[in-house]
């Protein structure tokens, strides 16, 4: 197989784009694709400071590497979720990545040691699915760090496969409010929020894994133990079967939705006006934000458990 740009032997075949590349040409193709996505959706400019949420996985590290290569001003944010060996491995790989490249990295650890607020403890105390508690914690800490650091934008590594799987789930259940919000750029709905962007929304997992490998990025290949059996993986599998039979389906599903579908859903009922949380000051739909409610619930459940024993 030959590279479509320079005719050298190809290392990467992208059936979805009906093309193949050698290593340097693929790196060029990948970075240019991200740059075009940023421009197309007007995600941010070179004068804005970008906080990149990194997990130690291929997508977020490939994104950070690319933004740096493209000359954007970035800082990484790693959230230690307290999920045993998975969290320690991902934190170590993220730190190494940042140190080797001389990049600024903020590490925020959930307070497992003192308050028992690691994800597994919170899930156990509240009997919630780990991923639901995790989502609430991530949103809160990302928003808070972006605000505290005065960043203009928060960028996450969600890729095309994530977007396609989420879209499939939202369509299967006709989640109108979610469909209205499924876009690669979310403008802040409160002055204490920052813009949220997904520069890899047109980039497949195959591409980000390939990029990470070719750039010598040592990322965590292991999965979070809570991801096994997640509905998201079933949707991804369905999309991969489609993609296998009809290359290009994933990209068309997501991009056609954005151009033709999204405008129709944009009128879905708006979420209530946001005030400020009485406890932490972050935007909240009621008196107290979702994060503070969850933390309070953990305290209450633990007190009950002690009282019963």
């Amino acid at each position: 197989m030959k590279c479509k740009r320079c005719s050298a032997t190809a290392t990467v075949q992208l059936r979805s784009h009906n093309t193949a590349f050698c290593k340097p040409c693929f790196v060029f193709f990948f970075q240019r694709g991200v740059e075009r996505a940023i421009a197309r959706e007007r995600m941010f400019s070179r004068d804005e400071r970008i906080l990149v949420a990194v997990s130690g996985g291929k997508d977020s590290l490939a994104l950070w590497d690319t933004l740096v290569a493209l000359g954007y001003e970035t800082e990484g944010l790693y959230l230690g979720l307290g999920i045993g060996a998975y969290s320690s491995a991902s934190e170590q790989k993220t730190r190494t990545f940042a140190e080797r490249r001389g990049l600024r990295l903020q590490v925020v650890a959930l307070d497992e040691a003192e308050a028992g607020l690691g994800i597994p403890s919170v899930a156990a105390a509240t009997r919630r699915p780990a991923c639901s508690a995790c989502g609430t914690f991530k949103r809160h800490h990302f928003d808070r760090a972006a605000l505290a650091g005065g960043f203009a934008v928060l960028a996450t590594g969600h890729n095309l496969d994530d977007e396609a799987a989420r879209l499939l789930g939202n369509v299967l259940h006709w989640q109108l409010p979610y469909l209205a919000k499924q876009r690669p750029v979310l403008e802040p709905t409160h002055p204490r929020f920052v813009r949220k962007v997904r520069p890899l929304y047109r980039t497949s997992e195959l591409e980000s894994a390939t990029y990470a490998f070719l750039r010598g990025i040592d990322y965590v290949v292991e999965e979070c133990p809570n991801s096994a059996g997640a509905t998201q993986l079933i949707y991804k599998d369905v999309m991969n079967r489609l993609e296998n039979e009809m290359p290009g389906s994933k990209l068309a599903f997501v991009t056609d939705f954005l151009s033709h579908g999204l405008p129709l859903f944009a009128k879905a009922p708006e979420i209530a006006d946001l005030g400020e949380c009485a406890r932490c000051g972050m935007p909240a739909a009621g008196d107290v934000c979702g994060y503070c409610r969850l933390v309070a619930e953990v305290g209450r459940r633990r007190a009950q458990a002690v009282a019963h024993s």
Partner: protein, 97 residues
């Protein structure tokens, strides 16, 4: 032509000597080592084949794994053979975040 070797022949591998005690002229190749990540599963497969066929024969969808040999990535039309050490690294990550 590629000769197919029985498991017995492979097991005896290099230590095999001719009846007169001399070392045979051909080194017996070790079968291909294939590791599936992140499962950590190790497979042993004999014989030259295309990457695309190898991946398909394991029931893996095209485009859902990186095929790694040393520090290079292999495309579907590349050949892998005995003595190769291959990693098939899943590109799918899951979970809600």
């Amino acid at each position: 032509m590629q000769r197919t070797l029985g498991p017995d022949r492979i097991a005896r591998g290099l230590s095999r000597r001719k009846p007169d005690g001399s070392v045979p002229r051909f080194r017996v190749p070790a079968p291909m080592q294939v590791r599936l990540e992140p499962q950590g599963k190790q497979l042993t497969i004999s014989g030259r084949r295309r990457v695309g066929d190898l991946v398909r024969s394991l029931g893996i969808l095209a485009g859902t794994v990186l095929v790694i040999r040393g520090d290079e990535l292999l495309t579907d039309d590349a050949f892998v053979d005995d003595d190769d050490t291959i990693e098939l690294r899943a590109v799918i990550s899951g979970g809600a975040g």
